[in-house]
Amino acid sequence: MEATVSTETNGKTWSGGSNKPLGASYGKMMMWFFILSDALTFSGFLGAYGLMRFKFIESWPIADEVFTHFPFLHGIHAPMYYVALMTFILIFSSVTMVLAVDAGHQMNKKKVTFYMLLTIIGGLIFLGSQAWEWKNFIGGSYGAVQLNDGKIVQFVDASGHQVTLESFVKSSHSERAQHTRDKGLWFVEESTLAPFSVKEVIEGFNAHPELSIRTELINTETKAKTIISRADAMSYLNNANAVVKGANLKVNEYGNTLFADFFFFITGFHGFHVLSGVIINIIIFFNVILGTYERRGHYEMVEKVGLYWHFVDLVWVFVFTFFYLV
């Protein structure tokens, strides 16, 4: 079989055999079936997200209220814009990738190198953007109070817009400091304390008569979170258990913790794919520069890594829809 190898690579690479089932080379066919299996993995995750979302459909966080940040526009409510930018960055890096594949078909080494470089840069920008998105989500925007049964209560002003805890709560510095290794037992640590205590938040709430609260429950008519009148607010706040700022795997100021769990897991898994895609792209990029594929007589390897890169873009299209749009 090896005698029919059509390319000259000093016998160092395996040609994939002379049989070509489904009319595709070994590597390309295997890449397609890997992509198929990876697509099913992502479907499993997104399906699980859908299951949990349907389970808590009446109180699921509204994405427009969660992802509202944009670089250099601090404090301005800008839903969707940033994730739209991220989507464009990824689509554009897909375009440069397919241009590299196209240049490879014409054996144009210079163009392949240039477009591969652009693709790698696009991938790195996307990764940075995702890190920034995570930073904002982890840091939180308004802060909230968690009740004894785990529900989240947020604070709104008279017009129904959310207000930050900092804008009405005064810290009395009566609580203890965060325990760190240098302050006590060296083997004991604790996580960062909430910026305020429950008592301080309730005092601040009482001192500002224009404030009210809202619960996670979504009004089915208006598709907005239910606002509780100030008169009834104290019966909720009397059940307050903790002050929450930001989101992590245990608690989430925007509502259901599962939302944060799935967000971290699915965008994290996707980001890991982007990272590995960038690393593979870099390896292929150097191979292109070294002339490996020039000598091999074809740029099929660029095509195969391109398939993977487009798949990462494809997954993002679905993540974008299910986390930000629907």
Binding site: L22, G23, A24, S25, M29, W32, I35, L36, A39, L40, S43, G44, G47, G50, L51, M52, R53, F54, K55, F56, I57, E58, S59, D64, P79, M80, Y81, A84, T87, F88, I91, F92, S94, V95, M97, V98, L99, V101, D102, H105, Q106, M107, D149, K223, T226, D232, N238, N239, H298, E300, G306, H310, D313, L314, V317, F318, F320, T321, L325, V326
Partner: protein
């Protein structure tokens, strides 16, 4: 494709056209996502809002363009195309249908037990 690499002609024009289509769809999605017109957002059709259906359809259109023209699925043989696409489409629809029906059922059972007034 590698076999006829030398007589392969450039598809640059097609690539930019597909980029234009994908960008246009994304812009439409973002505009709809920001405005959320009440007539599409608060009404109900087929168990969800028309807006959600629009988003789903546009997503599938985008997936089609990426797979067919960026991943060159259009150039593969029919047998490869079907063995990848049909498998994925069938299993994903199957999984999603079962999980979403189950999620609604759990919600039907669970939500009456959740207390929202204190």
């Amino acid at each position: 494709m590698a076999a006829n690499a030398h007589e392969h002609k450039s598809h640059t024009a097609l690539i930019w056209k597909v980029f234009g289509i994908l960008s246009f769809i994304t812009i439409v999605e973002v505009i709809l996502g920001i405005i959320k017109p009440d007539s599409l957002h608060l009404t109900k059709i087929l168990g969800t809002s028309p807006l959600n259906i629009i988003f789903l359809v546009l997503t599938i259109v985008k997936a089609y363009y990426i797979t067919w023209f960026f991943m060159h699925m259009a150039d593969e043989t029919k047998s490869l195309r079907r063995s990848v696409v049909w498998t994925a489409v069938f299993l994903i629809i199957y999984l999603a249908t079962l999980l979403l029906i189950e999620g609604s059922y759990i919600n039907d059972v669970l939500s009456p037990l959740v207390k929202w007034n204190y």
